[in-house]
Symmetry: none
Subunit: 262 residues, 2 copies
């Protein structure tokens, strides 16, 4: 529960493992149309540890039932969202603003990939800046005026033949890169990675196998034996068998040859 | 228009700037429930240049009107989707499969971040392998059996306090990282690495082994059989056996049991 996103005065943050506050970028939706998209955006944000949502002049007013329904477990983001009449007001307290746009226009602004944008904001937030990301309306995107309010542009590298990332998808990509930049490590998992058996155990298994194959006349013609043994060894070696697995495989060999030796 | 995603026989690809075919991973949705989610997944795929969609046993049958509606401009992906009854059939011609899962279980499988997964698949696709990514049902995710069919796991690093990425969101993240990796064109360095056999060949080998072990009474006590089979599968899966190796191992099994059957 200590990891639950929380909101502190004027700055959106979540607790890290040591209970300290961890600030993150705000997402600012400018004139969004569909409540469902606002809800889906909230989900995507919270999935990647963001919870600061601001909304400029939403078409269907606020609060919006559909947004809450779509957000489901992320309703904390919806409940805490702040609504503004203009973009100017929504970003008034921010130090650094990036605008998402499908095509970087001839705005003489620096263009960031989502990953570079996340790194830039991470650096700025670490030194106390408040950062925000502007997302435009579903249909029209951001107006030129709103783009010009930003310090830079985030350009998501979509398929040029089908560039129709919707609002929630664009927000998800930016949030995902934020989480990566925020040094969220892939959880555990690698601890489960198999530890290969000591070579002695592997050899015992493999010698056992080759011995039984010799008994069975598998290696034919004889001059191919060296190569055949080597190829089998490579295949099993590559599995990185654990100690338990080498034991299991010896059991397998015994079972397979059992009736032969009876 | 030359950048429009196209589909060539048996392999999904899009044209690069010079008109050459560019293969990409297949996305395999296992028992998806909502047509809307299938459609949203298709959109996310095409936004990032993927178009190869396979669907295992969709809850509401196929074709699905809602999937087509939600896909809107990406209906080419929906129209070309292939439907299968089982995961086994859906991945039969694939050389390398990754399974997406929220929590990497104690499967002794390598765990990839989305970026690492994309780099790995990019390298493998560059040398001619067919790669696929498994996505589970909205509610339940992938079954253990389906996870065990994979060569590795993709773990998306979500907020531990709110880990509820939906199907289309998970697919979007994987597709996005694919597009990034594909742009970087990870060089195919390890050309010498073995190309894993199509899953159908692996299954033939493994079923052969299990059949003979059943004959020999290896699985004892009976209630342990499921786990024992799973552990054997993981060990052999991890080896990334080539087609030739699966053939050799079938020869090994035959040799070992030979006299038993005589």
């Amino acid at each position: 529960m200590t990891d639950r996103p929380i909101k502190s005065t004027g700055r959106i943050a979540r607790r890290d493992g040591r209970g300290a506050l961890r600030p993150a970028p705000l997402f600012v939706l400018v004139e969004p149309q569909m409540g469902e998209n606002i809800g889906a955006t909230a989900r995507g944000m919270l999935n990647f540890g963001l919870s600061g949502l601001r909304i400029v002049n939403p078409r269907d007013g606020w609060p919006n039932e559909k947004a809450g329904a779509m957000a489901s477990g992320a309703s904390i983001v919806i409940d805490d969202a702040k609504v503004f009449e203009t973009t100017t007001e929504a970003i008034a307290d921010c130090n650094f603003i990036l605008a998402t746009t499908a095509r970087p226009r001839e705005a003489l602004l620096p263009v960031f990939s989502p990953a570079d944008a996340a790194a830039e904001m991470s650096m700025r937030i670490a030194r106390g800046e408040k950062c925000g990301v502007l997302f435009g309306a579903e249909r029209s995107g951001l107006s030129n005026e709103d783009v010009m309010r930003a310090d830079g542009i985030i350009s998501i590298p979509v398929n040029p033949a089908f560039a129709s990332l919707n609002l929630a998808q664009a927000a998800l990509v930016v949030a995902y890169e934020w989480a990566k930049a925020d040094e969220r490590k892939v959880q555990a998992g690698d601890q489960n990675l198999a530890i290969p058996a000591p070579k002695a155990d592997f050899d015992r298994f493999f010698d056992h196998l080759i011995g039984e194959l010799d008994n069975s006349g598998y290696f034919f013609p004889a001059e191919k034996r060296t190569n055949m043994v080597r190829n089998l060894k490579v295949a099993f070696q590559r599995a990185g068998l654990t100690e338990g697995e080498t034991r299991s495989l010896r059991g397998v060999i015994k079972a397979l040859v059992k009736q032969r030796d009876e």
